[in-house]
């Protein structure tokens, strides 16, 4: 790597242009957010929109404040986070393991293919009542829902990643005398690491869908519960506040995966 001061003036100019462009993009991003919030607030204050059904930023903030002080917001966050993370990890690990088995045995893959196709196209929410009967109406049912929604996509994504291994590289390993286990551990698994990261990213979204959907169906706590409850008693401030908190948590979880990607895939230029 060259140091900054080794570059020619022209390159310095180019770097500056790129940096300015990046700064503009960031400024515009924030501008949209702030303008949007301002507009929302002004429209609500002037009564052009009815803040009883649309809420408004200042009310959302005060609601979050009272949620923290009076309604145990962190408890609800904890409940949802627990369900989401558990659903996420179970779906990811089980999905990876099942994809490994399907990669290993072509027969197994062929036998199970139609089942996976059907499960994939089935709207999992339809199984809600069944899940409640089986797991009761607590966290268990919600985690089950999150796993169910996440695992199929995890399996399909990972299996496609495993199967996309370059046949020439497999041939190379076989010529060295590698057995199937070595092909798996030396080539297929490390080679599909980028797919694994994509799978994690997709699974973050799936886990949130699963846990919130589950909380809509059955729950006495959690952000999904707050949202449903807020809707039922027509407290739109509560609905919006819980949604904002949800947005923040989901973004943080996605960012954690993106960070992991930077750490794990360090061999690319």
């Amino acid at each position: 790597m060259k140091k900054n001061n080794d570059f020619s003036p022209r390159h310095a100019l180019y770097l500056k242009k790129v940096k300015t462009e990046n700064a503009i993009v960031w400024i515009l991003r924030f501008a949209i957010l702030i303008l949007g919030l301002l507009l929302w607030e002004i429209l609500a204050i002037t009564g052009i929109i009815d803040s009883f059904i649309t809420s408004c930023p200042s009310k959302i903030i005060t609601t979050i404040g009272t949620l923290i002080t009076e309604n145990n917001l962190f408890y609800h966050m904890g409940v949802t986070l627990y369900e989401t993370l558990l659903g996420f990890f179970i779906a990811v690990f089980a999905g990876y393991a099942i994809a490994l088995v399907l990669w290993w045995s072509e027969r197994c893959r062929r036998v199970l293919e139609p089942y996976i196709v059907v499960l994939n196209s089935l709207p999992k929410i339809a199984l809600g009542p069944v899940i409640i009967v089986w797991c009761g109406s607590g966290s268990k049912a919600i985690i089950f829902m999150a796993v169910l929604i996440g695992i199929i996509v995890a399996i399909i994504t990972m299996l496609n990643g495993f199967l996309a291994t370059d046949p020439n590289k497999i041939l190379l390993l076989r010529s060295m005398g590698a057995n199937k286990f070595q092909i798996l551990t030396k080539l297929v698994m490390p080679g599909s690491l980028p797919t694994f990261i994509s799978m994690l990213k997709i699974s973050v979204g799936m886990a949130w869908i699963g846990s919130i959907m589950g909380e809509y169906l059955v729950s006495r706590a959690g952000l999904g519960y707050l949202i449903v409850y807020g809707g039922q008693v027509f407290k739109l401030d509560l609905v919006m506040a819980a949604t904002v908190v949800l947005c923040i948590l989901a973004t943080l979880m996605y960012a954690a995966v993106a960070l992991l990607e930077k750490v794990v895939i360090n061999y690319k230029k």
């Binding site: 370059d166 020439n168 590289k169 041939l171 190379l172 390993l173 076989r174 010529s175 060295m176 005398g177 590698a178 070595q182 030396k186 080539l187 490390p190 080679g191 690491l193 895939i265 061999y267 690319k268 230029k269």
Partner: protein, 250 residues
């Protein structure tokens, strides 16, 4: 001299649901220790199949292959296979890539590692052992790929169109480079290619194959003077050999 490799009346047929593809029919040839043999033929004629047979990854439908006088039944243990493109694993450093065959064979001993590192040093890759393949030029990557095939001290090298992914300039120099290393390490080599110049400039023996099902159409021994492929390309004899083989292929 004893025959290192001998193919007798080898045929091979691929089975598919819709077709039976006879890739190779009654192929016979042999090669001595230390020779450089090129197999040249139109693409799709079965060249890669021949190498897979020699490597013992496929078994002939009929005929026999012997290696060092013994009939080959399973995988051929003492060869190095180099494929189209370098096939270096992008997530492994150059050093780890080169040690891969040792890991696979369970021979990753300090002694063998030292041998591998010596090869890397001898052929100018020492400063790059901690780099990832993406950080190296096409030529250096190819050299690393060759060293990877050499670390397990094979008796026979199989090269499957190893330069076809490179641009013309790089190709000429990499071809020289690979040839020199092979001669320095005194390895017997079977090269498969559809590039006539490459075959003429590198080989002691050239087998020209027919279109599928492949048979040996003719055998040539160009033996052009010159100590490297590039020099041989400059030799006046080169042109007439090129023309001769070109006519046979078309």
């Amino acid at each position: 001299m004893n025959k290192l490799l001998e193919l007798k009346d080898v045929s091979f047929t691929y089975q598919t649901m819709t077709d039976e593809i006879t890739a190779i029919e009654n192929l016979t040839f042999s090669c001595d220790d230390g020779q450089f043999v090129s197999i040249i033929g139109p693409s799709g004629c079965g060249k890669t199949t021949i190498l897979s047979l020699i490597a013992g990854l496929l078994q002939p439908t009929s005929g026999s292959i012997s290696f060092e006088g013994k009939k080959l039944t399973g995988r051929n243990e003492s060869l190095g296979y180099m494929l189209q493109k370098d096939q270096l694993f992008p997530w492994r450093t150059i050093e780890k890539n080169v040690l891969l065959p040792l890991e696979i064979k369970g021979k990753n001993t300090p002694e063998n590692r030292k041998y591998a590192l010596n090869l890397l040093e001898k052929y100018g890759l020492k400063d790059f052992i901690k780099n990832y393949p993406d950080q190296l030029s096409g030529g250096m990557r190819q050299r690393a790929a060759l060293i990877r095939t050499l670390v397990s001290e094979p008796k026979l090298l199989l090269l499957d169109e190893p330069f076809s992914a490179l641009d013309y300039q790089t190709r000429l120099s990499v071809c020289d480079d690979v040839y020199n290393i092979i001669k320095e390490e005194k390895k017997t080599t079977v090269l498969v290619t559809h590039d006539i110049s490459e075959a003429i400039s590198m080989s002691d023996i050239i087998l020209v194959l027919t279109a599928r099902p492949s048979k040996v159409k003719s055998v040539h021994k160009p033996q052009i003077k010159g100590d490297s492929p590039l020099r041989r390309r400059e030799n006046p004899e080169f042109g007439s050999w090129f023309e001769k083989i070109w006519r046979e292929l078309n």
